[in-house]
């Protein structure tokens, strides 16, 4: 039997990008919080700039729980499932924010109102068939103050493009209005990003440096980024990357009201017959504990959020916690980030250093920033190029440029010598929608080592996503050619929605309890003292990375709990 621990006010399950933010407003409000985190602390000695180690599965360090529960994938119910053998999310204090890229975007205004804006501007028939897209229960104006809060508490660098309606072309002129500048200036440009920015300007586009959870100058006692080139999928040796492990978590710990239990694997959330949750079960060092709490916030990333709910069955919730309307796992989508475009230049780019956040963006063809009247899709993509290259990666990136010539021997070696620093691959993030027949559930056969089923993804990119991808590939080719590229390659578009680092939906937020698991504050429509944090709450993706939005929402949900303690938790 599980050992029952003393009760606490709030349990946060998972101390990653989302949970690590939510702890702060709660602890500051005088609420006792326990964070149950499957991973442990990672620190500077773990963060060697060592390409082989990073690519060998030796990073993230330690035995990674995510790799024991990798979801299975099938494009549709009539296809067999496949399963990969590693998953890039992280189990550690700070979660994946320890080794993510740190691009930290606010969504554009349109992303909150895709359904109504599409109907208004182009007519209802333009909403893709089978899509279950809804407007968010609120607009960007509602989230603005929380974005700002998180930008300052986490530490984001960037250049505003719209302060109180005044546009500034040094930033993103397509962003929604904000109240204040970023707390730090943007990361510096490089020779290559300046070249790309000039090419974008020549095309009459609006290039700008993207916002990053990376310090561009010393911030709150952390040193500035040193652009050392081992940033992607790697931890920061100087704490310049604003993971929650070095920003909001230590601040919350300072209040002495936030305690983290590391290597604590939560297996279920317990609910009573009244439908309220009473605490969580977890395993640590082989022992099972029950941690009672007044309220529970689930923040274990999309797949584990959905899995934990579906596995937490009780008399009140026979089909899984908060699933009496059958919405858990619905409205799932993986961000449409595939279909990359690569370029070969006839000169060296000197891209050996930097970080994937040190780049230049073009937002002209994202979201609804351009007229879709004559087009046959809605949404768009943001284009991003950046500086970071490592030696083995540089050699391997040339594989695609050999065009049938041998990939070994003297001729290959000469090619590698000449071109190692001449390729570049753009990062193209595109708006993605939820559909009726794209969903997550529990795999009926595949289980983790504890015997619990893993998540099964049944989802594929639909016509709208494929059309955006082709459209953006054209724009990206145009941009690269303008900058002098002599060769262009395009990756394939579409297919199954695989296990993603940007996985949305599954516990969607909205006013209608028939189509959404969570209310507008991120609390369950069914179990009132259960909140969920992460991109699983989001119903649209926009054309940019999710984490800042996830963190703004996490702050908002936590603040709501603190301010409405009696109603929600009492």
């Amino acid at each position: 039997m599980a050992t029952t621990l003393p009760k606490t006010n709030v349990v946060i399950i998972g101390c990653g990008a989302a949970g690590g933010v939510a702890a702060l407003p709660l602890a500051q409000a005088g609420i006792e919080v326990i964070g149950l985190e499957a991973g442990s602390w990672v620190t500077t000695p773990d963060m060697a700039p060592d390409e082989l180690r990073l690519s060998r599965g030796a990073w993230p360090p330690g035995v990674q729980k995510v790799n024991r529960e990798i979801p299975t994938v099938r494009p549709n119910p009539s296809s067999p499932v496949t399963r990969g053998n590693d998953h890039p999310m992280m189990n550690a204090v700070g979660g994946t924010s320890v080794h993510y890229w740190g691009q930290s975007w606010r969504l554009n205004p349109w992303d909150f109102k895709v359904a109504s804006e599409t109907r208004r501007r182009y007519g209802a028939s333009r909403i893709p068939m089978g899509s279950t897209v809804e407007d968010w229960p609120f607009g960007l104006e509602e989230l603005g103050p929380y974005y700002e809060k998180v930008e300052y508490e986490v530490g984001i660098s960037g250049k505003a493009g719209n302060i109180k309606g005044t546009l500034d072309p040094r930033g993103n002129i397509f962003e929604g209005s904000r109240q204040r500048e970023y707390p730090m200036p943007p990361l510096r440009s490089t020779g290559y990003t300046e070249k790309m920015a000039a090419a974008a300007r020549a095309l009459q586009w609006h290039p700008f440096p993207g916002p990053a959870a990376i310090t561009s100058r010393p911030y709150e006692g952390r040193s500035a980024c040193v652009y050392h080139g081992y940033c992607s999928g790697a931890g920061c040796h100087v704490n310049a990357k604003s993971s929650t492990a070095v920003s909001t978590i230590p601040k919350a710990q300072k209040t002495r009201r936030f305690k983290i239990v590391t290597e604590a694997h939560v297996t279920a959330i317990v609910a009573g017959n009244d439908g309220r949750v009473s605490g969580v079960n977890y395993l640590k060092d082989g022992t099972e504990y029950f941690q009672p709490a007044d309220a529970v916030l689930l923040a274990t990333y999309t797949y584990e959020n959905v899995r934990t709910l579906l596995l937490s069955k009780s008399a009140a919730y026979p089909n899984g916690l908060s699933n009496n309307h059958g919405q858990v796992g619905r409205h799932y989508f993986s961000h449409n980030q595939g279909g990359a475009v690569s370029a070969l230049f006839p000169f060296n780019l000197n891209n050996w250093y930097g970080t994937p956040s040190q780049g230049v963006a073009v937002d002209n063809w994202a979201d609804d920033n351009f007229d879709h009247a004559g087009l046959d899709f809605i949404g768009g993509g943001m284009m991003w190029v950046y500086s970071e290259r490592r030696p083995i990666g540089a050699v391997n990136a040339l594989q695609g440029w050999l065009q049938g010539r041998p990939n070994w021997g003297s001729a290959w070696k000469a090619f590698v010598k000449e071109n190692a620093d001449r390729t570049n691959t753009a990062y193209l993030q595109k708006s993605t929608l939820p559909y009726e027949d794209n969903y997550l559930d529990l795999d009926p056969e595949v289980k983790d080592p504890l015997g619990y089923p893993v998540i099964r993804i049944t989802a594929e990119y639909k016509e709208n996503e494929r059309k955006i991808a082709a459209f953006i590939q054209d724009k990206m080719e145009q941009w690269y050619r303008e900058a002098g590229a002599v060769g262009i390659q395009r990756a394939a578009i579409g297919g199954a929605m695989g296990v993603s680092t940007h996985a949305y939906g599954g516990t969607r937020m909205g006013d209608n309890a028939e189509t959404n698991v969570l209310n507008r504050w991120g609390f369950s429509h069914e179990a009132p003292n259960l909140g969920v944090l992460g991109a699983s709450v989001m119903g649209t993706s926009g054309s940019r990375n999710p984490t800042l939005t996830v963190q703004a929402l996490a702050w908002r949900t936590a603040e709501y709990l603190a301010k409405n303690w009696k109603t929600v938790a009492g």
Binding site: P49, D50, L52, P391, I392, G409, A420
Partner: protein
């Protein structure tokens, strides 16, 4: 974290070893090191692997290749460490290369002319060579990946000796800080010839 003490200890140890490593790295002769006894592979396996690697990344008019980089030393160490689990399959693969070389060309791989060696490797890559588990193309791809790792990975792992691999492609080296000037397009950054573990602040990976 339960092992924070041991991590701190490691850091200290790495600091000392790191300082020693800097001296060693800078004194490293760029030329071929004298032959040494392999640590994990048999001498004959080592000889075959080295011969394969030297055809994948040859030493030629474009500069040193896998031999000078001591890529074979990398895989020899890895087979006793991080890649130990594939050691039996690796031995079987190497034996299959020699068996196929003998059957098709009349001598073990390392004894063949460069042209015949290339013919054997081409047969492997095109999946025509027999006697491999599961097939020769898979083994070729594996060995090719190892030749690249051994030539271009951090010298800590035993390959990329004298930073010959990084110099070949113009990678200016591991740095813990990079200046704005070092990111300009009109600047060619001078290689610093440092390993990640020369900096002393990182715990070491498994070889």
């Amino acid at each position: 974290m339960s092992d924070s003490i041991s991590r701190r200890e490691l850091l200290k140890a790495a600091g000392i070893a790191g300082a020693a490593a800097i001296v060693r790295a800078e004194a490293f002769p760029p030329a071929i090191e004298p032959a040494q006894a392999p640590e994990t592979l048999t001498s004959s396996e080592y000889e075959t692997v080295q011969a394969i690697f030297s055809r994948i990344v040859p030493s030629d008019e474009n500069g040193p290749g896998a031999i000078e980089a001591q890529a074979a030393r990398y895989i020899d160490r890895a087979m006793g460490g991080a890649l130990a689990s594939i050691r039996p399959a690796y031995s079987a693969g190497i034996a299959a290369v020699d068996a196929y070389a003998r059957a098709s060309m009349g001598a073990s791989f390392a004894r063949l002319s460069a042209t015949d060696q290339d013919a054997v490797l081409t047969d492997m890559q095109e999946n025509r060579a027999t006697g491999f588990m599961p097939d020769s193309e898979s083994f070729f791809n594996l060995v090719r990946a190892h030749a690249i790792q051994g030539t271009f990975s951090d010298p800590f792992y035993g390959g990329n000796a004298g930073f010959t691999g990084w110099d070949l492609i113009g990678y200016p080296g591991v740095r813990t800080a990079v200046s704005a000037n070092q990111q300009r397009m009109d600047v060619k950054v001078t290689p610093n010839h440092r390993s990640a573990y020369d900096f002393g602040m990182f715990s070491k990976g498994e070889l």
